[in-house]
Subunit: 585 residues, 2 copies
């Protein structure tokens, strides 16, 4: 009976939990649970901090770290991905929702919830329709530039909490101007807390683990303690504020965080909100997916496992829908947290579900303790986290390798800093696609000759090759399609408009992977014009799929010359041993 | 002294009139004047009719046929292009301006003038920055589909004048619904005039010339008389309306057309109008340019002349600016009129300037005679003119040749008919670019082997070739760039994940015209993974420009294998005579 087995396989493809749950045992449970404890310790301050970055109440960060993790455990294919609020998506949420409502209002929170829901739908639909390939149109350099620029924007946006002042803006210049204008209002106590915490966290990141190892502590424990740095900073600064009543001296605190599990509810279905948020949700979905899938792929490769990108879309999509119905905001797989999860030994997505239990316990038990937590501490954890994302080396690498890639990165960085995340990443994508199209619209064409002693043909300008005065062989280094059809016509017109007694033009098609209708019409035109001039048009090395299609048109019947299997065959037939000497280097 | 000569050459490049005016003589003058007379006879009814189609007063059609022609004569490079109002651009003007104001109001006319000005600026700037290549992104099939669908829309939109009723809409369904709703209000006298005129014009087009030739009339005169058909229809129907006072029986007439030359004035510079019209102006500019440049190129080729596309942009741009400052509306080179101009013997752009004089005389002298001209006659001339544009053969041609091209055409036709010209043409462009990108993101990869007795390598699935069990040679039929970088990684992973004792993977790069930064990172990753599996990575037939760039990166140093000049060299070095038998066909 093959039908039931097929449907089980299909079911397993759509519900990856069915695959790994079958072999789940006590050992795996232990590994997952240990990883979950470490990730929970890391996630509590991060979820609060990223909610702050998104301009949302602290509890929404916690809510976004419970149900979404459970949903990903059921639908996701990565064994180590840690889903939840992340820095870049939080910043993009603030940018998107900030256009619709004022921070701190109920409308703002409702819009963030709706954003998560729309983004979840987009991701799920993309997954079901297998549109994961769309993410490939974000080039590596554009992503690198975008992450770097976002890191700078995020760090700058948190300076206001370190100084204890107000500042707003979605671009670097707006943020800096606003910070500068409010600088006189700096609260010195806040500044001391912020600077000391930031310094402490940097030191924990770099210096604590070696120090602990130096005392003879075992490596695992030293690692956990180093990861607990932010939790320590949260506890210490909360205690200091409470002991000295610093909230009465202008230190801004988190304040009341509701105790309990997230309330389940449906997001807004207002057409206005949906249409205003759609483009933002699309950008957040794609950026979130790309960030998530690249870390998932890297981690999977280390254990020779595979992830299924289209199913990942469903996993992240259902996570965002889960976030929306439980009062959270857009989530994705975080880079740093996933690496920690992997290093801590997570073996299945169950580790994420256990993390969710940890955060749920925190929401039930720890929220009263967060009342006196200074916002400056959260800002410090964000700054330390995102500055590790800032890496300008991509500018140097692309400058050396390809000016086209460089200009796409540079535009992405500058426009993200100058006009915010949405403009930046859109411009990066559009520019890289535009530059690719521009290049293909003006293809490289090489005139080739025979490399002596071989049957191989190369560019007459780069190699010492044999040519024949009656034969012009052009190797077109691009597929022929509408954008370059006219270019080819002009190129061949110019080439044959000389005094040489040309009798044959051979188009060597080894690099032509496609001839579309527009290019076919251009070839017909070229054939026609050459015929008027008494020149035959031939083709060589036409690939199977291209030839299949040409055979369905009338072009081959009308062509004055022939199609040769190889360029050497064309040479043998047309140059008939009368080859002239070597062309100049 | 080379400097003054250089500037003269440059001046001539920007002012093509300087080139042909030097050799202008009496013979050329006679030819141009004759052509101008014929084009003028054709243009008077057309300019009135297209103004009606654009929803503008009749005189604006005349105004758009005076100064713009002079501007083109100075700045244009085509010897035969007849610039002025054309059907498709008139329809696009109505669609663009109809969003801003009601037909018949002063705001409507002002918006049409502003549209001409913005379009003129866009074209001129594109010309100065040599952006003419952008027009190549409109594929031939998309243009053909768009013109056909526009022809149907235009003919349908004119039915209301034939029936003497009101009807509105920018899509076919809206137009038909509106026509159907108003059908009971049909004015029978108008319908008779409209149907008889349409029939007469179709007959003139097909039957008059053979009839005249049958009477022994010389071919030239028969041709002119056939071209004068619309003028005859205008005269006859005007006379009938005047004689029988049909305007009092519900026949709608053109009415008062101001006498005199167009008033010179500046267009509106309102930021609101400009921002609402910008996208429409861009579409009109590109469509107008593509239509114009393709007819100009066809006609130039017949006389072995050349046009300069970037200078054509300037010619059309200044024509539109001239239209805007003289009370006209967007113009471009018309297909039918240019062919007539060419056939009538026009030798230089001066023919256009003479046509302008003819139209100016008409504006000065003939306008009182147009008072009783029925709108149904103008509608009939439009219908007969545009139905010759309708040609569905492109659907059949593309269906047979390429489903990708077919879907772009089909979408263009359906969306133009269903949602109007702007949506239709935008969708056509976006879809053809999108489909091209999609194809390049999933390249064809062929595993190749040696064709016996040659040094040529072909697909093992299509040809009988020699292979070697330790060697896998993959010919990647596409440039490697961000959109397919991940695809290649996955493809190679899948290919080597088998039980064969593979020792070498050769990437045959004859079709790889570009390796961008994203693809380079993927190659590094592939090299790294293959190394872990004990497999060397090699490349062959890497082209000059690609190799130049690879040498600037570290990839070649880290690569486990070598780069071979030809695939045969790679075979000779790696298969070492141990080739196995022929692979299956």
């Amino acid at each position: 009976m093959s039908l039931p087995r097929l449907s089980l396989a299909q079911l397993e493809r759509h519900l990856p939990i069915l695959q790994w749950a079958k072999t789940y045992d006590r050992d795996t449970l232990t590994s997952d649970a240990v990883a979950a404890v470490i990730v929970t310790i890391m996630l509590i301050p991060q979820s609060l901090a990223y909610a702050l970055l998104a301009g949302l109440p602290a509890e929404m960060g916690l809510y976004a770290s419970i149900l979404p993790l459970v949903a990903y455990a059921i639908f996701g294919t990565s064994r180590a991905l840690a889903v939840g609020p992340v820095a870049v998506v939080s910043l993009m949420t603030a940018a998107a929702v900030g256009n619709l409502a004022l921070q701190g209002t109920a409308e703002y929170a409702a819009a963030a919830i709706a954003l998560a829901f729309i983004s979840g739908l987009i991701l799920t639909v993309m997954g079901l329709f297998r549109l994961g390939f769309l993410a490939n149109f974000l080039s590596h350099p554009v992503i690198a530039g975008f992450i770097t620029a976002s890191g700078i924007l995020i760090a700058t946006s948190q300076l206001k909490h370190i100084f204890g002042i107000d500042a707003h803006g979605h671009s670097l210049t707006a943020l800096l101007q606003s910070l500068y204008a409010h600088l006189p209002e700096t609260n010195v106590i806040t500044l001391v807390i912020g600077v000391v915490t930031t310094g402490f966290l940097f030191w924990v990141r770099k210096g604590l683990k070696p120090l602990l190892l130096g005392t003879g502590m075992n490596s695992r424990l030293a690692d956990i303690l180093a990861k607990a740095g932010p939790v320590g900073a949260v506890a210490a600064t909360t205690l200091v504020v409470w002991l000295f009543g610093l909230q009465n001296h202008g230190v801004r605190i988190v304040g009341e965080v509701p105790t309990g599990l997230p309330p389940l509810s449906l997001p807004s279905f207002s057409a206005d909100i949906w249409s205003s948020l759609f483009v933002s949700a699309l950008l957040i979905s794609i950026i979130g997916f790309v960030e998530s899938v690249s870390v998932a792929q890297t981690l999977a490769a280390k254990k020779r496992q595979r992830i299924v990108p289209d199913q990942e879309l469903v996993g992240l999509g259902t996570s965002n829908i889960a976030a929306a119905i439980s009062g959270g905001y857009p989530v994705t797989g975080g880079f740093a947290r996933s690496v920690v999860n992997f290093d801590a030994g997570a073996e299945t997505p169950a580790a994420g579900a256990f993390t969710a239990i940890g955060i749920a316990l925190a929401a039930l038990l720890l929220t009263p303790l967060l009342f006196f937590l200074p916002k400056a501490t959260l800002a410090a954890t964000i700054i330390v986290a995102v500055l590790s994302l800032v890496d300008f080396s991509i500018l140097k690498k692309t400058w050396g390798y390809s000016k086209v890639d460089f200009s796409a990165v540079a535009a992405t960085v500058l426009l993200t800093l100058g006009f915010g995340v949405e403009v930046g990443v859109s411009a990066g994508v559009i520019l890289s696609i535009g530059l690719f199209l521009y290049k293909t619209s003006r293809p490289h064409v090489a005139e080739v000759g025979l490399v002596p002693g071989t049957q191989h043909f190369r560019n007459i300008l780069r190699h010492k090759v044999k040519t024949h005065h009656e034969l012009v062989t052009l190797r077109i280094d691009e597929s022929l399609y509408f954008a370059n059809a006219r270019f080819l016509e002009d190129y061949i017109n110019d080439r044959v408009a000389c005094d040489e007694p040309i009798k044959h033009v051979v188009l060597m098609c080894s690099a032509v992977n496609e001839i579309d209708m527009s290019a076919l019409e251009s070839l017909e035109e070229i054939n026609h014009r050459l015929k008027d001039m008494g020149i035959s048009l031939h083709m060589s090395e036409v690939k199977g799929p291209v030839m299949d299609r040409l055979k369905r048109s009338h072009f081959l019947d009308d062509m004055t010359g022939q199609v040769f299997l190889s360029q050497y065959d064309a040479w043998a037939a047309l140059a008939r041993g009368k080859a002239s000497g070597l062309a100049a280097q």
